[in-house]
């Protein structure tokens, strides 16, 4: 259990910059998820924290102690790999006990045949067995102890990998896309299981994924990374509702946020196409901006309604809700998420109009930075 501090980490492979000065403070016991598209540097950052990769600049400290010059084996952290990286020649029980063997037994006690005759060997081995049994019981893999990894299913391997990480009570858990090799159903299940595990262990978890659903459902805080930069670190709901950058807004949320080009007039009033967004004002006057609207903040209305005219090109029935894909008459395509009852009124091919909820519209500048907006509810 420890806090992890990341200060101005830079890393490049040859001439390619992978991380350009990333800083984040991770609190003791926090579940932080590093999320971003592939190639954004999130895995590299995790490997630098683990000590498997050396940064070009910046510092890592664990529990307020600099660890930059410590070998991975001395940092007292555990890692779960995407491929699980279980030792294929060892049984489940032996795989889980490797970290304890390495730490508790001396060099002589670890010798292949002579080791067991060294003083103290038996007591230590009994202690290791107790700890391994405790972990396998917690994870429900007690019955698999004598199997080899090749004889296990993906989900079971995943649990063994977590068990190997848990067994020595590390200061922090690092997880590198641990669920990406599982099928969709199991992934949702393991998501809940890992979040529960975090609650029970109350240890710092640093979790890397490219799946924003994993990030949103598991994290205390989400760190969105893109092109080697950390764009925003915040709670899942803030990252969704209050993205500080258009790239964050576009990455988080499914279906994707709708981005519409808009103009601000001298008075700060915003127009999209030929429609004014009533009650919404921007501080940037007389400029072109971008308006981001989440699909649930876009509603379809009758063609005569006060909105942007459009044509529905496709609709998806999700059971409890429905997604409508619409082509705007001013150009561009948007997605609206509505209650499934809207399917009674609207269907593919129909002409309709799109109504933007100004309270939930996000304003971004031309460079993608977030702009302040002022909402005035008309009396």
């Amino acid at each position: 259990m420890a806090s992890v501090t990341i200060r101005d980490i830079e890393k490049s492979f040859g001439s390619v910059n992978v991380l350009n000065g990333v800083s984040v403070d991770i609190e003791d016991g926090e579940f932080i998820v590093l999320v971003g598209p592939s190639g954004c540097g999130k895995s590299t950052l995790l490997r630098i924290i683990a000590g498997l990769e050396q940064q070009n600049a910046g510092n890592i400290s664990i529990a307020d102690e600099l660890v930059d010059n410590l070998h991975a084996s001395h940092r007292d952290i555990a890692m779960v790999f995407q491929s699980y990286a279980l030792y294929p020649h060892l049984t489940v029980a032996n795989n889980i006990s490797v970290p304890l063997h390495m730490r508790r037994l001396s060099f002589l006690q670890r010798l292949p045949l002579l080791g067991r005759f060294m003083p103290g060997h038996k007591e230590i081995m009994d202690g290791i067995k107790r700890d391994v049994d405790e972990v396998t019981e917690t994870l429900g893999i007690g019955a698999l102890m004598d199997r080899k990894p090749g004889q296990l299913s993906g989900g079971q391997r995943q649990r063994v990998a977590v068990g190997r990480a848990m067994v020595r009570h590390p200061r922090a858990f690092l997880m590198d896309e641990p669920l990406s090799n599982l099928d969709a159903e199991l992934r949702v299940h393991m998501r809940a299981e890992i979040a529960e595990l975090h609650r029970r262990l109350a240890t710092t978890f640093i979790y890397v994924t490219h799946d924003q659903a994993e990030a949103m459902t598991m994290a205390d805080r989400v760190a969105v990374m893109m092109d080697g930069d950390l764009l925003q670190v915040d709670t899942p709901s803030n990252v969704y509702k209050n993205p500080t950058d258009i790239r964050v807004a576009e990455f988080i949320g499914s279906p994707k946020i709708n981005i519409l080009a808009a103009q601000v007039d001298g008075a700060g009033k915003i127009t999209v196409g030929d429609r004014m967004l009533s009650g919404l004002y921007s501080s940037v006057k007389g400029e072109d901006i971008q308006v981001g609207v989440r699909p649930e903040a876009l509603t379809l209305a009758d063609i005569k309604a006060e909105g942007l005219p459009c044509r529905i090109v496709h609709h998806e029935n999700m059971g409890s809700e429905a997604y409508f894909h619409a082509e705007l008459n001013i150009g561009g395509r948007v997605i609206s998420r509505m209650d499934a009852s809207a399917l009674d009124t609207f269907a593919t091919g129909q002409e309709a109009s799109i109504v933007i909820d100004p309270q939930n519209a996000l304003l971004f500048g031309k460079e993608g930075q977030r702009l302040a907006s002022k909402i005035e509810v008309a009396a």
């Binding site: 683990a50 890692m79 790999f81 491929s83 990286a85 020649h89 970290p99 090749g150």
Partner: protein, 338 residues
């Protein structure tokens, strides 16, 4: 639905035609296999069978008939001292060359694998003896090991009376009499005739065998090393593995298991087959100390035209190779594939 009904209505007819079609397919598939099977029998199995039959006779090439000898040929192999020497020479060669060349090959592969630069250069150097024809290289060794003008003995002799002798006579170790050491006595007397003395010849042949096999084993191990997942090394580092030795024991060696089984089998079979160095350098001598099986087969069956007896040695030779192959198949292979 309609398909189901017809099949229920006419089951016997349909079954019969199906059976005929199946039989035809089976016949055709055998026909396709026939060329491969007959070639295999003619060029692989029949010669071995003939050798097996001839090993119980006194047949010579060119004779029209032969006499049955029973197991006399085999009794000679295991009874007469010169053939016991043959078995010893082959066993010594295999038991020295296999472990030494595998150990050194693995060591070279690990060292080269850890290099960031010049890896290809070292690979090429170590692989040179494998590419070079051993018969040609044997001539070079013959010169190098010549008792008086050879570079080996000249180099050794130039160290006499200098610090080199002082060091290698081990006289500086307390309790060791330097004057009695191998180096000092050789300096006083003469350096050995490496290929001409019974005491040294088989070891010299072994040395050349190792020199040649290391490069081949190294290449096989290098290929094996590329198959070890890098994440396992990372997992090992996180699990607290600090030293290179522990990393080797936990990850590298187990992951090289299949490679090792293959390397051991191949090297053992190649070592049993050693012939060219013996033929070029010692011709089985001195006093049959390097009289390995392949050379014995050559001498008896080809030079002396004792085909029956040569066949018996061949069958014994095949027996050894078969034992090695089967033991790798059944004893080891199961334990290295996870």
């Amino acid at each position: 639905m309609s398909e189901q009904t017809t099949s229920v209505e006419n089951p016997p007819k349909r079954g019969a035609s199906l059976k005929a079609a199946e039989a035809r397919t089976r016949l055709i598939s055998y026909l396709f296999c026939l060329p491969a099977i007959s070639l295999m029998i003619i060029i692989l199995l029949v010669p071995i069978f003939i050798a097996g039959v001839l090993s119980f006779t006194d047949y010579s090439l060119g004779n029209t008939d032969f006499n049955w000898q029973g197991t006399k040929n085999y009794e000679r192999i295991f009874g007469r001292s010169s053939y016991q020497k043959m078995l010893w020479a082959s066993a010594t060669y295999v038991l020295v060359v296999v472990p030494a060349s595998i150990g050194l090959g693995l060591g070279a592969a690990l060292l080269i694998n850890s290099l960031r630069r010049f890896g290809d250069f070292y690979k090429a150097i170590y692989f040179l003896p494998v590419m070079a024809a051993l018969l040609a290289m044997a001539i070079v060794w013959d010169f190098a090991l010549h008792p008086t003008i050879g570079i080996v003995n000249k180099t050794l002799a130039s160290g006499c009376g200098t610090l080199v002798e002082g060091f290698f006579s081990w006289g500086w170790i307390p309790g060791v009499n330097g004057a009695e050491s191998w180096y000092s006595t050789s300096c006083a007397d003469e350096f050995p005739h490496w290929l001409g003395e019974k005491k040294y010849a088989i070891w010299t042949i072994c040395f050349i065998g190792i020199w040649q096999a290391v490069g081949f084993n190294m290449v096989l191990y290098l290929a094996g090393l590329t198959g070890v997942p890098r994440e396992l090394y990372h997992a090992a580092a996180i699990d607290g593995v600090r030293s290179g030795w522990e990393r080797f024991r936990l990850v590298t060696w187990p992951m090289l298991g299949p490679t090792t089984v293959f390397v051991v089998t191949i090297t053992a079979i190649r070592s049993f087959q050693v012939f060219d160095t013996v033929e070029a350098l010692t011709e089985g001598g001195p006093a049959k100390s390097t009289y390995v099986m392949m050379y014995a087969i050559f001498e008896k069956a080809i030079r002396e035209n004792l085909v029956g007896f040569g066949s018996a040695i061949t069958i014994v030779f095949l027996g050894f190779v078969l034992i090695i192959t089967l033991s790798q198949r059944y004893l080891v292979e199961r334990r290295v594939h996870y």
